[in-house]
Symmetry: C2
Subunit: 379 residues, 2 copies
């Protein structure tokens, strides 16, 4: 708390960041793809059974790699929820895709899985799902549609570290391991962060080599250094997606503490849920039966824009910082004219009504109780 | 020197990197566009008179921003030297450009400015020059052609920090300040580094606002936080180009020492030049009269591929690491079939014959003398 203000977010620090950064610096291995990068990538592959992991400078960059790997060209259609961060769509716009926006569920901001089938056309190439607030989309249904129409599935798992889809057998399947590709974020607002940062996951083995080439600026440099080829050069599209080892060292310090972070966040989330449930002024999050909760975010849903705006202002006057986010992308200045015209009621509703409350490792259970008391009084 | 080996590169460390990174961490400002980012950007704007500077996660990313800012679309032609790093071309390939490769000068690997005019067609939209080894291209001639045909000029200044074009009045004009846009690199191999990192320079004022929007993921978020607009949203193409404050803090520690770095590198470069000049086995670099030398690189030019390969091997057996780089991009696996067919003799010649020698702050004048003695003996 700074000057009595409860900020909306305080990035988690494990305390070992400087220690590992020093280690990277002393080793003078500062550009990308060094020991810390490999350590982080292996950690994810082993813990969650992800196919191949490649650290990137942001989740946005990982999504751009997905768009290239899907082979998106001018005019290909990609189905994306409208209620999401701008990068989910921009990554595909940059490849010339025609974006077809889908609506959210009634009970949750995640994509309405039953609306997807109707949006498929012969030009559709990929479905991008966003595990909003770290809560799984209905991946069985999404994968069924994708398999039926031979589409790629990209999981935008920006918020979904250490979260699971509960399949029809009741088995927990890690988010990020289901689609052909997935993208994670380590932005400072995430459970685990490196300031800025992200990661591409490639689950379909036939894309392992190409992913590595795109990651290495479109060259087959990695294969060269493994001694698999005699000479390396320009073989594909690509960019410089590798973060510095300084960033990977920072991330490693955080990953070591993930269980501690998750335990704390879940306790805070549950305190919010208990305190705020059953109030007639707003709805609390519903976790669908096919999803676990990684406590990335606690939000309330107000009746409308006016009540949300008022609550934000009242909380600010009490020095509690709450924020809203995502404006339906299909109504944005950039996209409105291109939208196919469907009414995306739920997306618009969440744009107007969803309010995010402070949730971070440094917050205490007492802080949560204070916030909840204020909200209940102010409503 | 590790185990008696003289490595090709050792990234510079100022000693203050950890100090400033700690400052960023303590302030809990870890994502991009914070105090260190602004400090670095202001430093460049003031020292070199650059229009507007925006830190990026790599020079590649800055070049991609240039391609978007030039409005490159499918089929637009862009003139680029063939003897360059793959990112110079990939950034424009990603936007669908048709790349027209130009040859290098006889006396220097930089673009042959007199060859550019003949490559211009009605579809040409931009000329990308690369200040190879930090040595200026003939910018008066390039800007003349660009003005005549209304083309954008992008300076790939990856290697060109603190270097100048000497104009017809004998005035030193900073590289990166001449074209509409420029891109710098802070990769660990550069004079000043942040492990991975880069910077976009926008000199043409009419592009300031759009550059900032593209940098902020295609949103007008920056204008919103300055209070210029009421609400922010998706207004343009864009990506996540901002580096973490941890990277900006690292860079700041290096920029503070730039004069010390440059002094040392120039002394090392001059020692190489003195020791190796006048040898009949190879050529030493020629600095054209319109360029200053920022001592980014010392290279020798051997007669052919065979003699270069032999020298690399002999030096390696003496535990001295030298490297070659750039294979003509027009002959790459990715591009060969698309090349318009011109013979780019000089580009191919430098691809076969140019050899880079160790040059970094931690090298001593004695090291240089040892390397030179070996080269002269082995030739």
């Amino acid at each position: 708390m700074k000057n009595g203000v409860l900020p909306f977010n305080v990035p988690f620090l494990s305390g070992n960041e400087i220690h590992y950064i020093k280690e990277a610096i002393v080793g003078r291995q500062l550009s990308g793809n060094g020991l810390f990068t490999k350590r982080c990538q292996n950690w994810f592959e082993e813990r969650y059974g992800f196919g191949k992991c490649l650290l990137t400078t942001s989740c946005t960059d990982a999504l751009e790699m997905c768009a290239i790997l899907c082979g998106i060209r001018e005019g290909d259609e990609v189905i994306i929820p409208s209620y999401t961060f701008v990068s989910t769509a921009n990554a595909f716009e940059l490849r010339g895709a025609k974006i077809v926006f889908a609506d959210s569920r009634d009970d949750h901001p995640g994509i309405n899985e039953y609306s997807v089938r109707d949006l498929v056309t012969p030009r559709t190439k990929a479905i991008v799902v966003v595990h909003y607030a770290g809560i799984a989309c209905q991946m069985d249904e999404i994968m069924n549609v994708a398999n039926e129409f031979n589409l790629f599935v990209v999981e935008d798992a920006a918020q979904a570290i250490d979260s699971y889809f509960v399949d029809s057998d009741g088995k927990n399947v890690p988010l990020g391991s289901i689609g052909h590709f997935a993208a994670f974020s380590f932005h400072e607002t995430k459970n685990i962060n490196s300031g800025e940062g992200g990661m591409l996951v490639v689950n379909d083995q036939q894309f392992f080599t190409r992913a590595e080439i795109i990651w290495e600026k479109g060259t087959n440099r990695s294969a060269f250094f493994r001694g698999e080829i005699d000479k390396y050069g320009w073989v594909d599209l690509g960019s410089s997606y590798l973060p510095s080892e300084v960033i990977a060292a920072f991330l490693w310090a955080q990953l070591e503490k993930i269980d501690e972070v998750q335990k704390k966040r879940i306790a805070l989330w549950e305190e919010y849920f208990e305190q705020l449930s059953g109030n007639s002024c707003f709805r609390v999050p519903e976790i669908p039966p096919f999803a676990t909760n990684n406590a990335h975010m606690f939000y309330v849903i107000l009746p409308n824009l006016e009540s949300r705006t008022k609550l934000i202002e009242k909380l600010r006057s009490e020095k509690i910082m709450s924020v809203f986010h995502y404006s339906s992308l299909h109504k944005s200045m950039f996209f409105a004219k291109k939208h196919q015209g469907d009414n995306l009621f739920n997306s618009d509703f969440y744009s107007d009504s969803l309010l995010r409350l402070p949730l971070y490792y440094d917050l205490s259970l007492d802080d949560v109780r204070v916030i909840c008391d204020k909200i209940i009084t102010l409503c």
